[in-house]
């Protein structure tokens, strides 16, 4: 392409962050070339299953969002604490969940990303699939484009939206490689079931969805299980820490298989047919995983590439932060009076909109790093439930408080209970 710009902006990666940036940029009249390594946008992407929608609503507007191939709006939140054959479940039904302005919904990324790519194309974005950006082009300390498929593509600015591994951000010297302790391995099975069966099994009305998280299904390993209801399928999966997984004998698939066979899950997926099995890494570091600088002269990083993920245990946000960061990148590029100002504009927006939110939950990963969270506490919780509900023939049971104290003493230990409670209060 010589010295002429291929477009105002080159975006590497057609996931949700890159596509959000492409849509917002083209809407504001900027020319965009987006490179996607898959045969279509979304063909390499997966998620556990739920997106918080305010960011999408800001990007697309309510009318366009109404056309989006989203699955079910989440009205039912469930959290199960599992130990062996026992489980204690917290079940929250949000009757007020609005039909129109719902806050979150379940999603299948290959379907959604492809649709969003079509919307960006309608706006004028040029999306080149089946093409990888091999590396950045740098001139006098400024990123001026990328090499892709043996060609030089030049632009005023490059947006790295190439996901959690982000070889582009790494190459630009913006971030260290991700560490085992800071990620989870996510595996997921999509299981098809008819819409009616799902509605009946989960007590849902048409269009309503459930999000169900499971603690204690990864014994001794930092992790958990998840289940999301789609329109006519279920997304069932598990996330585990690779470092802790490596220190024991079971494979991730064996753990997943046990989870599927468990009493909590097995009846929910009966008669289902597996449509797909996928895997992906997930950021678990939260705020501390975000690189100190998220841009260089001529380069902005967005979404997973920048580590924008929050895991609060009950709420996991990555995709909406990806959309917010894509919007921020587009706004920065449009607002900057000269290309040299773009970095400053982007940094300002990220510091205003994403980092304060991430900072609020900065210490949550430390809480989830308490090893007893994944075995001993689930055990204690279920033993306490047993003490509450079970009877013992005609025998006079001990006082409940005494029994609870006894359970905690034996399963967790008083010393741990005090130190963990102190830690929890301090961290939250």
């Amino acid at each position: 392409m010589g010295t002429e710009n291929a477009a105002d902006v080159i975006i590497v990666g057609g996931g949700i962050a890159g596509l959000a940036a492409a849509y917002a940029l083209t809407k504001k009249g900027k020319s965009v070339v987006l490179l996607e390594r898959g045969t279509s946008c979304g063909s390499k992407n997966m998620t556990g299953g739920r997106i918080y929608t305010p960011a999408l609503r800001e990007l697309l507007g309510t009318a366009v969002l109404r056309e989006a191939p989203l699955e079910r709006r989440v009205v039912k939140e469930q959290l199960s604490i599992v130990h062996g054959n026992s489980s204690t479940t917290l079940d929250y039904m949000d009757e007020s969940a609005e039909k129109e302005n719902f806050e979150s919904c379940t999603i299948l990324r290959s379907v959604f990303d492809k649709w969003l790519a079509g919307k960006a194309e309608e706006m004028g974005a040029m999306i080149i699939t089946g093409t990888q950006a091999d590396h950045l082009i740098e001139k006098d300390g400024r990123i001026t484009g990328v090499y892709a498929a043996g060609e030089e593509l030049l632009a005023d600015v490059v947006i790295a939206a190439d996901g959690i591994h982000s070889f582009i951000a790494h190459q630009a010297g913006l971030k260290q490689d991700i560490q085992c302790s800071g990620v989870g391995i996510g595996v997921k099975e999509v299981i098809t079931l008819s819409e009616d069966i799902i509605n009946n099994r989960f007590s849902l009305q048409k269009g309503e969805g459930a999000a169900h998280l499971f603690l204690g299904v990864t014994p001794g390993i930092n992790g958990g299980g998840f289940l999301y209801t789609n329109t006519d399928s279920i997304s069932l999966g598990m996330v585990v820490n690779p470092r802790e997984l490596s220190m024991q004998e079971k494979t991730i698939h064996e753990l997943f298989r046990e989870f599927k066979a468990s009493r909590s899950i097995s009846p929910l997926i009966a008669q289902g047919k597996t449509a797909e099995y996928s895997a992906h890494l997930v950021h678990e570091m939260g705020f501390t995983g975000v690189p100190r600088t998220i841009c260089r002269n001529g380069l902005l990083i967005v979404g997973d590439a920048a580590g924008f993920v929050i895991n609060m245990g009950t709420t996991i946000r990555g995709m909406d932060l990806a959309v917010w960061s894509g919007i921020a990148a587009a706004e920065a590029i449009v607002a900057a009076p000269s290309p040299a100002e773009i970095s400053k504009q982007y940094t300002k927006r990220i510091h205003e909109r994403i980092l304060p939110l991430m900072k609020r939950y900065k210490r949550y990963p430390q809480l989830l790093a308490i090893p007893r969270v994944f075995t001993e506490y689930p055990d204690a919780a279920n033993q306490i439930m047993h003490a509450v509900f079970a009877i013992d023939g005609h025998r006079v049971p001990p006082k409940l408080t005494k029994k609870m104290w006894h359970i905690l003493q034996h399963s967790v230990g008083i010393k741990h209970l005090i130190s963990d409670s102190w830690e929890a209060i301090r961290l939250l």
Binding site: T131, C180, I191, K260, S266, E276
Partner: protein, 101 residues
């Protein structure tokens, strides 16, 4: 077959792959793996593409069925013995093609 009995191979057979038979995107040097104490790839690969021969102890790897999550790249460089000598995404439009995601 009930859902719980599905092996990794059964699960992978549900996926659509466009496999580059000739050019593996991940290259493993089994000699390095022999000296690896932890062998984290064996437990961590979601597609179980790393298999250890029970008699010889040699780690075999097959790139067919790779889900491109990159877990092996991380665990090998951090806890392994550097047996993975190349980790790239599959070329062009090869590799897994998710239809649900």
């Amino acid at each position: 077959m009930s859902k719980e009995d599905m092996s990794v191979e059964d699960l992978l057979s549900c996926n659509h792959f466009n496999t580059d038979e000739k050019n593996p995107h991940i290259i493993v040097n089994p000699d390095s793996c022999t000296g690896c104490k932890v062998k984290p790839c064996l437990t961590c690969c979601p597609a179980q593409l790393y298999k250890q021969d029970s008699s010889s102890g040699i780690v075999h790897f097959d790139h067919l069925g790779c889900l491109e999550c990159g877990t092996c790249r991380l665990v090998c460089q951090e806890m392994g013995n550097g047996g993975i000598t190349q980790w790239k995404y599959p070329l062009h439009s090869f590799g897994v093609q998710y239809r649900c995601g």
